[in-house]
Symmetry: C2
Subunit: 190 residues, 2 copies
């Protein structure tokens, strides 16, 4: 067998996550990552396919972890209870891993099957929660888009300091959930 690697893809990605969560996706470069790992930039090509390959791996990892967080939050809950649980899990994930979360929201055009499947995993959790609202078919799709819009918009604005003064943001989030909970029922009362 070949010699045991001093560095592997897992370790590389872990370090990259630390980097983007601290500096943002913009701050990710093979040069800085290699320096962090005590290695020269070309060595990274033995483990990932360049910068695009690394970004893809991070996107996939982010989608997987987000899905997991949502699934864990939804288990054993239903209705408004489940909705609020996954909403809080969504926001918590975005706050704990701002860089990784940002990776999951990059343009999806030209994405391969694996990425699209991972993205669908996360959407599916939301869809199932909304089924408890008696939503099916197109209505469920619309409602899912509404919920995702509200959540994604909120956590993004929070992350970019878009809300200005950071006071009372928790309270704003609770208001958002009340709005969505009530609004979904109102907009989709069949």
């Amino acid at each position: 067998m070949p010699p045991r690697p001093r560095l592997n893809e897992q370790l590389l990605i872990e370090e990259a996550i630390v980097l983007i969560d601290r500096e943002g996706p913009q701050g990710l470069s093979l040069a800085t990552l290699a320096a962090k790992l005590g290695v020269k930039p070309p060595s990274l090509y033995n483990h990932v396919q360049g910068l695009p390959g690394l970004e893809r791996a991070l996107t996939l990892r982010g989608l997987e972890e987000l899905s997991k967080a949502l699934r864990d939050a939804a288990v054993g809950r239903a209705g408004s209870d489940a909705l609020r649980a996954i909403a809080h899990a969504y926001r918590t994930f975005a706050k704990q891993h701002p860089g990784l979360y940002a990776m999951t929201q990059r343009s999806q055009e030209g994405r391969d099957e694996e990425i699209q499947a991972a993205a669908w995993q996360a959407v599916e959790v939301v869809l199932r929660v909304l089924e408890a609202f008696d939503l099916k078919g197109d209505e469920a799709i619309h409602a899912t888009r509404c919920l995702r819009s509200a959540l994604h918009g909120f956590v993004t604005l929070e992350a970019t300091e878009g809300f200005g003064l950071s006071l009372e943001i928790d309270a704003s989030f609770e208001k958002l959930l009340t709005m969505v909970d009530g609004g979904l029922r109102a907009a989709f009362s069949s």
Copy 2:
């Protein structure tokens, strides 16, 4: 007086807007912009302060145009009518100028007074519209954050193809507006 310039900041920014609306903010580089303008990269430094200066100018321009679009949409309207009007204006702007819109949503930390003031201009339009919902003080702030979250989230997901199949997106937006309109009244009934 000095000689008339062959190139000026206005022209430069117009071309940069075309570039980012087509390629995204990532695709903006002084090299490609200079090539578009038939000039060598160092010449751009006579008109903007490097790439950071150009990005700042684009952010400012985006905020100004967004504010203007929202103001124009809100004039002469009130209540749900005004809410839907600025929502559609918001989405239209984001679709017509995806790159410029993205510039307005970059991290606000370390932004100067002028940028913050321009950002406030846009928020203020929303705030005034929500005053017609009998919201004041903290409640109006929370409601504004909710509305901005929903709008920003929707147009961002739409821009990144985050919704998957592009069918029925107009219908989803109408549902979102119904949800927000109804949800705001429910969440903020004092």
